[in-house]
């Protein structure tokens, strides 16, 4: 893209805060600032789709219509659009990041975008479309509360659509949104939309995805992206942004037994605090309170939580997602890699277990491969003792497995580790039950 001309802020007006001269609708700044500072929840979502389905245009439109794009960025997009002879703004230019991508005109890596509305703050993982970049979809969706899957209304559900839905299902993403794009190119036809929505929902049921919302949109013209479209009168549901603002963000994890992987041991060894020994970490499941009985895994040592410490003072409880420091009643000498767990349904440490994995590296993973395994905060050596089945995306069944896995393959494997690990079933968000196999 061409060199951006310096933005001369000082020439705008004598008053530095002048919203009108930047072509932004005048707003009450005090009010907006107050709105954007008040209590809001964070929604993490990812977008996925095949190349040319209009993902960049959709994301650009979301950012643009929710007024998250700054004026000098917009100026640059306008200049480039004009230079390419376009009469409308090419909003996809807002989000095509790296130079290599700009040159090839494709998105090759996960890019993160940030925007906020008075209702919520959003972190968007914008994931690339090519089949060979499925690994990026996995990365982007790993912590998502919702995945937006894009499809072209003219082609409907294609292989990539199924692959993205399957990945979202494996990762336990709680909500799926199917955006049927380019609805303008099929004359806003309800039957076309209904057929695609029905086919996708049937597939989602097979995947065990509880909730799918399908929305007909035109990213290019803005229909149903931020505001509901009058041109699609037969559709009465929410726009994409409305759905993102209102989708249920349940705290599923508060009723679960606590899990707390120890990251680091805090020992000031100072004159005032000679014996302080705190276990620093982030609660990955459940709620912890002083007095709670706990077991340390894999050693099995028992104790109780004496107190929960933070730099802001002691706490009466800590919930999943919070970074705190736990002090225990007994001197058990824990270190990084240990897991503090509630005593009820504590996982059993094992050295052999099954896992569903996807290969994110170029180099094939062979049966018998030796690598390192990261689980929670612990790292140990691992052998891939067998490859038990390779997922077929179309039939959703596991086929007899090959001797080696290739990039983007999703497979069931059996692993044997040098140290016993308190592994347990994967939970949505991956705070519990997720692992990395790292080739040395």
């Amino acid at each position: 893209m061409s060199t951006a001309a310096p933005t001369d802020v000082t020439d705008v007006d004598d008053t530095p805060v002048d919203v009108t001269s930047n072509n932004v609708t005048p707003v009450d700044v005090h009010e907006l600032a107050a709105e954007l500072t008040t209590s809001r929840r964070l929604l993490r979502f990812a977008t996925a789709g095949s190349v040319d389905d209009g993902k960049s245009t959709l994301v650009g439109r979301l950012l643009h219509d929710s007024k998250s794009v700054l004026s000098d960025t917009l100026d640059a997009v306008e200049r480039t659009s004009q230079a390419r002879g376009l009469d409308t703004l090419d909003l996809s230019l807002l989000v095509d990041g790296l130079r290599a991508e700009r040159e090839q005109g494709i998105t090759i890596d996960v890019a993160y975008r940030y925007f906020a509305t008075p209702a919520r703050t959003f972190i968007l993982a914008d994931t690339p479309g090519h089949v060979q970049y499925t690994r990026n979809t996995v990365t982007g969706a790993s912590t998502a509360d919702l995945v937006v899957i894009l499809t072209d209304a003219r082609t409907g559900v294609v292989n990539q659509t199924r692959r993205h839905a399957a990945v979202a299902a494996l990762l336990g993403v709680p909500h799926l949104l199917l955006a049927v794009n380019k609805i303008d190119l099929v004359d806003y036809d309800q039957q076309v939309f209904d057929a695609i929505a029905a086919e996708f929902s049937a597939y989602a049921v097979e995947l065990g995805i509880p909730e799918v919302t399908a929305i007909p949109i035109s990213a290019l013209h803005g229909d149903n992206v931020v505001t509901r479209s009058e041109r699609i009168g037969w559709y009465t549901g929410p726009s994409v942004l409305e759905h993102l603002e209102n989708v249920d963000l349940a705290d599923q994890s508060t009723t679960e037994a606590v899990r707390f992987p120890v990251q680091y041991v805090i020992r000031p060894r100072s004159d005032e605090l000679p014996d302080y020994r705190g276990y620093a970490g982030r609660v990955t499941a459940g709620t912890v309170r002083p007095g709670d009985e706990i077991v340390v895994l894999p050693s099995g040592g028992r104790s109780a939580v004496q107190s929960i410490d933070t730099a802001d003072g002691p706490r009466d409880l800590a919930r999943a997602g919070e970074s705190v420091t736990l002090l225990l009643e007994d001197d058990l000498d824990l270190s990084r890699g240990d897991l503090i767990s509630g005593v009820a349904d504590a996982p059993e440490p094992v050295t052999e277990f099954g896992a569903t994995i996807t290969l994110l590296a170029e180099r094939p993973l062979r049966r018998g491969a030796r690598a390192l395994l990261r689980y929670g905060t612990s790292t140990t050596r691992v052998i891939v003792t067998s490859i038990d089945g390779l997922l077929d995306i179309d039939s959703l069944t596991y086929r007899p497995a090959p001797d080696a896995l290739a990039l983007n393959d999703i497979a069931k494997v059996t692993l044997r580790t040098a140290d016993a690990l308190p592994v347990e079933d994967y939970r949505p968000g991956g705070a519990v039950g997720s692992l990395l196999i790292i080739e040395p």
Partner: protein
Amino acid sequence: MTLTDTTLTDTTLTDTTLTDTVALAHVTSPHLKTLESEAIHILREVAGQFDRPVILFSAGKDSVLVLHLARKAFHPAPLPFSLLHVDTGHNFPEVLEYRDRVVAQGGLRLQVAHVQDWIDDGRLAERPDGTRNPLQTVPLVDTIAAEKFDAVIGGARRDEERSRAKERIFSLRDSFGGWDPRRQRPELWGLYNGRHAPGEHVRVFPLSNWTELDVWNYIEAERIELPQIYYSHQRDVFKRGGMWLAPGDWGGPKGREVIERRTVRYRTVGDMSCTGAVESTATDVRAVIEEIIATRITERGATRADDQLGEAAMEDRKREGYF
């Protein structure tokens, strides 16, 4: 290479400033709390996975925030990281005063790599335009190698600029400090992979998911002190390339450029020769927040001359090992 140790204090000193700050703290917004917990988790992963971590500390607001979060992460123990400042020699005196005061009060360890030393012994040559921001890369990479730092913690945010949007939180650099956007590691869940070969290091960005507005809202909620130049004040400035620059040791007006007294503030702190002031009457955090929302001009677009060199300028510098 000369590295001056500005302050070396016994690390067993417990500091009082942090406790003072946190007694007043009141982050209540759920999304700021989530961002805080995430950043603390990342910083603790650094302490758990690396032998020689360092925080890049320029006394700019993002690095001040990283330091604040790092001290919260290891409370009540002393900070297990040292600080590194690559000093262009063209810094605002107010910023250096702030830096040294924070270091002294907190009993922290700071190393300063002076770009001037690299110029003096010929490892670097002054640029014709006198701008030194691009010259920071070599002293940074040299110092990382000489000090064997294995984790280098920075305050960069993904919303700052487009090529940053794809940066990992743990970002591997080769022994030349270079970054290859095509060879980034997958980064899933909260499982940050800090493995690296000898000579390589990992850049760590705990504020990756913060926006400029989040940073300011958090600074307000936690009552974090910043260098005064972030707030409105009177200053002698002159206009060059569409920016208000302040004269100093680095130079001053040339030709027809004239000094004027203006009411300004800075949105970033950096090399005086290429960091522009914006006209502003925002004297406190709240006023700054309102101004940011109102002006809708990106931080870098408005004030950093060197980024305007081109869209891909930042990406090129990152490949070379810039922050």
